[in-house]
Symmetry: C2
Subunit: 417 residues, 2 copies
Amino acid sequence: MTDVYEPLTPESLPARLSTLESVSSRLGTDHTQWSVSEIGDGNLNLVFIVSGGNDSVIVKQALPYVRLVGDSWPLPLYRAFYENCALTRQASRTSNAVPDVFHFDEQQALIVMEHLRPHVILRNKLINGEYVSGLGQFVGKFCAQTAFRGSELSMSSADKKADVGVFSGNVEIPAITEALVFTDPYFDAEMNNHNPLLDSVVSSLRSNVELKSVVQRMLMKFASNTETMLHGDLHSGSIMSTDTESKVIDPEFAQYGPMGFDLGMVTANFLMAYFSQPAHRSSDLDDYQQWILDVIGETFSAFSTEFQRLWKSERTGMLYPTALFEEQGHDSSGACDSLLASIHTDAMAFCGIEMHRRCLSLAHNADFENIEDPGARAPLEARNLNMGAQLILQASAISDASLLIGMAEDFNKRDVL
Amino acid sequence: MTDVYEPLTPESLPARLSTLESVSSRLGTDHTQWSVSEIGDGNLNLVFIVSGGNDSVIVKQALPYVRLVGDSWPLPLYRAFYENCALTRQASRTSNAVPDVFHFDEQQALIVMEHLRPHVILRNKLINGEYVSGLGQFVGKFCAQTAFRGSELSMSSADKKADVGVFSGNVEIPAITEALVFTDPYFDAEMNNHNPLLDSVVSSLRSNVELKSVVQRMLMKFASNTETMLHGDLHSGSIMSTDTESKVIDPEFAQYGPMGFDLGMVTANFLMAYFSQPAHRSSDLDDYQQWILDVIGETFSAFSTEFQRLWKSERTGMLYPTALFEEQGHDSSGACDSLLASIHTDAMAFCGIEMHRRCLSLAHNADFENIEDPGARAPLEARNLNMGAQLILQASAISDASLLIGMAEDFNKRDVL
């Protein structure tokens, strides 16, 4: 392999990876027998499935620009370094929840990792009306374990602060989230697009000064907070599932941030799946929408349960030390519940913001975009946008997942267009 | 000067600094004519006044341990590096508010800086009942300018995040604050001491689980927040004043943290000066206490006024961009007020915590400690401790400095012992 960064092609890949023992031990030493297919459908990277013998691996390589936009938007290759950091940390903080990393090459910005089979992108399953058992339990537990174990509730301050230093070199990737998620949706930014039939709804959101003020306060929390290492982009395209198992992939937006961010973002993507369903199915619509709401409820319930379990069993950091509570004969479960409530409030606001940006900013999601008829899509997007606004403005009042679910059911019946 | 770190002595200092042009140009090239006196009365460092000709400079050198405790508590010399970083940044963010740095030697952990004359430590003036005109205005403006200009309200995200990376290497210094300020006061920690006559008050505080829970939440905010670069230790011993001018010194506890921290900490020290006054004077007691309360009011008023001014004139960072507000014809002053309210709430809680730790933890302050009779000191400390608890528990309700001042006047009349 040469030292200079060079994007792989299906043709060049086998020869260039043939010397990697971690690959050849899986696919066979004769690289001319490997087959390669490029499957990258994301916005930023090259992704290859490389098969040989009876095995296969994923090779993911960063491109020096945003694939969705082209080389007019350069993006540093170092994000592969942070993705590898994140995958490594997530693997140690969760069990069996992320793909194994077989090889990382910083110079080539590439990661060779486990090929998840027969998992498919969760978003596609949600659009197709497929059920995934244990999904909410998995997602809630993943969020709680990464939030708790990546914080000074668990880590030593020296380790955690050193890791904040490692991630402080990551500027351009957070900048994408900062602009596309928090700011662009709320004014007529250059790269925005939205369904023209939503003009009146969009105009109403963009003229709501209080809404913009709260969203910017959440941006400040997102950008100036190092509570834990986030996945940073935990939507249903970052989860791969079979009917019974799920994994989290693609943490290249990992950064330090507030504990409620991942929880809020993934909830938003479940809610968008929910609101988009009337355009994707008819006969089993009610059942499937109910299942998505159940997943949301289970996600929050699993988050709290797992967070409380870790609070009792792994609170080894400097925050809320047992010396101050248990060792004084004082129950700390109220302190845990109070922290959970503030995480929950943050999550509600981040959820509403994600619901907005996916209809208003650059990167829309397939749940809505696959609805070809703008006239069929608009009322569903409008429900989503209006609920998002309420979540942002009333975040602290939505103190329980059951209130969130009731609100979704209510908005699902409203026709505002 | 040798490369190996070596603590200076009054005897060794002239020869070792004689080659520094920044020193000899002020004190004369014949270092045998310089006079040196060691004046360090702080907890951590050597501090010398070096005089020659008609001029003088301050030489501050870090010691590799906590001076207050001894070499049983080692402390890294790198804090001089962070102090120099902080002085440099504060100098660029404020006008004429910190001493000029003439020379910095990282290896020797020493800073040669302006000798402030005839300034004395503000705490001593407050104990002596001396007035400092413009004090509240100065402190409030200093806090607002450093808070605003050190944040992504003003700085580019790349510059600010790089600086967070620089400061992420600073672990042991924040750890002192984390333990001594936020945790030790609330249980029987090894290095604590308090006036035994306060036992009942202390016991009541330490058995208040809700109080401890809120304080730990504030610790989490302090340790996991990078809103701006703080002074980090802004008490009345870190301010030097004449009767008409003040300067801020000693930012070796500088770190990134929440915007309300410095404001809360300095307010606590004004309140402790206020509560301690009955033991320091009699005839002019009411007038002087009223003046301290006026200083507190002016501090908050100046903070808000300056923050709002910078909001209008220097909001060049990614947060609350004008593209989202002013350029849409939308007034952003409500967003500014809302942010100020949340800074204010944080400040109230940090204030209460600082009021506690100065009577309960390791480093007490002279305002109370100079009161030799424990029986005279205890009721004044009790007022301070009880008001601290109320500030912590009701932080968001104390929405205005006038409420804070009214509360102080009320506690000043209460005898709880």
